[in-house]
Amino acid sequence: MLIDLIKARFHQKHRTMAWPDGPLPPLPERFAGRPVIEGSCADNCRTCADVCPVAAVSFKEKAPLIDTGRCLFCRRCEAACPSEAIRFTHEYRLAGRNRDDLTVSQGCGPFPEALVEKARSLFGRSLKLREISAGGCNACEADSNVLTTVGWDLGRFGIQFVASPRHADGIFITGPVPKNMETAVLKTYHAVPQPRIVIATGACAISGGPFAGNPEHCGGASSVVPVDLFIPGCPPHPLTILDGLLRFIGRV
């Protein structure tokens, strides 16, 4: 029996990724990360805004803006743009401290900048989070949970998902927060000792995502509690979530 355990252990090898000290884990070729807006649009063309199912594309004067907090990364705007002005890159760094940081405009930075200094001093060496799935479809949940596996090993950064809000420094919300979860989210939030933080992960938790406009939910985490960190995506790639957490506590 013991020999089987040892054989399996050898077979499975050491799998924890080297990142952030070593190279990035490979992203899929067809991965859609942060979009960029390049070149100029045709006059009065609003095709990108017209094809967007979640109204993530808007116009400031004649230039498009993409709100990655609404974006489902479906690439319809990229495919429809007659000027090829929108391109989804492999940039996995999407998380932002403020809701406005999530908007991509022409000539904006490659990703939202350094997140917050206070968080580094408070949580830089230990950040305990209570996850609340509030209408999450189990995709954001799965790609958050995967960070605790040996491949990602979230624990090496002092970050951990804990069972009780009493043990937590903050809450990590996924889903649009259904009306049926509003009380539970508030109670859990208030059960976390201060100073406490809130992280909204995924398009639903940031803006309602594909359910935007349905009266059965509150329209995201920030309609219920103040949010300190937004991590966009539908769902965000685990690397996007980890990057957001690590930049938040000043580890990368």
Binding site: V54, R130, S133, N138, A212
Partner: protein, 502 residues
């Protein structure tokens, strides 16, 4: 051939028919037909209301005959109330609660008429019942106690409320009260398809993106009179089996974790990601978002990507086999799995379990095999069952299905058809048409039933996630078990909260 009390419409999986072709009968015949059909071994795949003018509600029932690969439809009109089916037919239990909650039509004599999702009624000005407040079953006695868990759980999982009635460590009854994930999906669809409808299908139960989106796309194709090209069907099949692989491997790892066998938990947690990353090779997204579209798939596979997938599949197979066989060769794991959370074959049939949970009780039912669709018309997926109905059985059937899915994906990759992956959509959906489309998702039968109005827009769109059938199975499995075995039993079913709550 089953014999029915009244005439039914006999169709196959996905067949379209005029709405008027579905026989409409009186309530007594409707009841007798359903109760008689179930007593002959048929299953209720769906039982739901669709509004007519005034206060009238049309009840539709889909009786599924797995042996013959046929679906039998029947309808009746009802106002106010009717005599409940549930006392004579336990499979109707959740459906009748749902009809009462959504439409206010009362099934008289229903023994357990409580809210399903605490949702706002679909008709009238009624309000939703306050979430989590209902007359929970309660066991009284000096040594009896109650354990309440949730809606927020200890792990990174979806919310739901569980109440255990215990005597010492033994659970006498588990009541499961859901609805916390309700996002109003069904109510939104009539008048559609809307621009957001496909995205809501993909996120209806995010771990079953391919399952539900594949079902929806086939429904749209049936209504449009088009079909996906062979290559699109092949890629859909690969994606569906990768979804099954990822979830089954993750479940076995989680079950190992729940009995404290950490090696398999650690390995499977990572290997699950390898399966998700294979889906990301197809479309860039680990859950298959954007891959399946009406008419086929949005992404193609060339020979280079096929080689990459075959190589990854070989690695996945070696790693998964090492990790999972290690668990099944460990007596301390088997001792915890065996005889824990047992559901008898008779109970499974009576309450209408579906998917691996049903096959683990020895029931032979698999939509891929008995009501084939898409690629499964050409490449047959083997169906596996085991007879013990316990946690071991639910784990072992998953392991057999993992091996079958790996072989299936390899076979399809080797025999990839040439040509396009997508047929262009044309025109509108056929008006005044109805169809029932079934899929074998990784949790079991996914049933979508829809009808269009005179303008070719959806008049109704009913979604039945496999979890809707199976949550009651978990409650049954917990009877006379140690409360400490709940996490293991729960993982052995691993049901969807959002798929149930919609």
């Amino acid at each position: 051939m089953p014999r029915f009390h009244a005439e039914t419409l006999d169709v196959y999986n996905g067949q379209t028919f005029p709405v008027s072709a579905c026989p409409n009968t009186d309530m007594a015949s409707f009841r007798a037909t359903l109760i008689g059909g179930v007593s002959q071994g048929l299953r209720i795949s769906a039982l739901f209301g669709a509004p007519l003018a005034g206060d009238t509600l049309r009840l539709y029932a889909v009786l599924t005959d797995d042996n013959a690969g046929r679906l039998h439809l029947i309808s009746t009109d009802v106002t106010g109330s009717y005599t409940a089916l549930t006392p004579s037919c336990a499979q109707a239990h959740m459906f009748e609660r749902e009809i009462f909650e959504q439409w206010g039509v009362r099934p008289e004599g229903h023994p357990w008429l409580k809210p399903v999702r605490f949702e706002t009624p679909f008709r009238g000005n009624g309000k939703a019942a306050p979430i989590g407040i209902t007359d929970f079953f309660h066991m009284k006695g000096d040594e009896a106690h109650e354990v309440a868990v949730g809606p927020v759980h200890a792990g990174v999982i979806e919310p739901g409320h569980f109440r255990f009635q215990c005597h010492g460590e033994t659970v006498y009854h588990l009541e499961i009260s859901l609805g916390y994930q309700h996002r109003g999906i069904e109510r939104k669809i009539p008048g559609g398809p809307h621009p957001l409808t496909p995205f809501q299908m993909e996120t209806l139960a995010g771990d079953t993106t391919i399952g539900h989106m594949g079902t929806y796309c086939r429904m749209i194709e049936h209504f449009s009179g088009i079909a996906s090209p062979a290559k699109g069907q092949a890629i859909r099949g690969i994606a569906a089996e990768l979804e099954r692989l990822a979830n089954h491997i993750g479940d076995l790892g989680a079950m190992a974790g729940d009995v404290g066998f950490l090696p398999t938990m650690s390995y499977c947690g990572r290997i699950r990601g390898d399966a998700l990353n294979m889906t990301a090779v197809l479309c860039g997204n680990r859950f298959g978002r954007g891959l399946v579209v009406p008419g086929g798939t949005a992404f193609d596979l060339d020979s280079r990507l096929i080689e990459i997938l075959l190589k990854r599949l070989d690695d996945l197979e070696k790693d998964a086999t090492s990790a999972i066989e290690l668990m099944f060769n460990t007596p301390s794991v088997l001792a915890r799995f065996e005889n824990t959370g047992r559901v008898s074959r008779e109970t499974a049939r009576e309450i209408g379990l579906v998917g691996p949970a049903a096959r683990s009780c020895g029931l032979t039912q698999d939509i891929r095999f008995q009501h084939p669709y898409g690629i499964y018309n050409y490449i047959m997926a083997q169906m596996y069952t085991w007879h013990t109905g316990d946690c071991f059985s639910r784990a072992y059937v998953r392991w057999l299905e993992i091996q079958e899915s790996m072989a299936f994906v390899r076979q399809v990759l080797h025999a990839m058809p040439s040509g396009e992956t997508r047929t262009a959509m044309r025109g509108q959906l056929a008006p005044d048409t109805m169809s029932v489309t079934l899929t074998e998702g990784w949790r079991g039968e996914i049933c979508h039933a829809a009808a269009t109005d005179a303008n070719g827009r959806f008049a109704f769109y009913k979604i039945v996630d496999p979890s809707f059938h199976n949550w009651f199975g978990l409650a049954q499995a917990l009877r006379d078990q140690q409360i400490s075995d709940f996490p293991l039993c729960n993982k052995s079913f691993n049901l969807s909260y959002c798929g149930h709550d919609l």
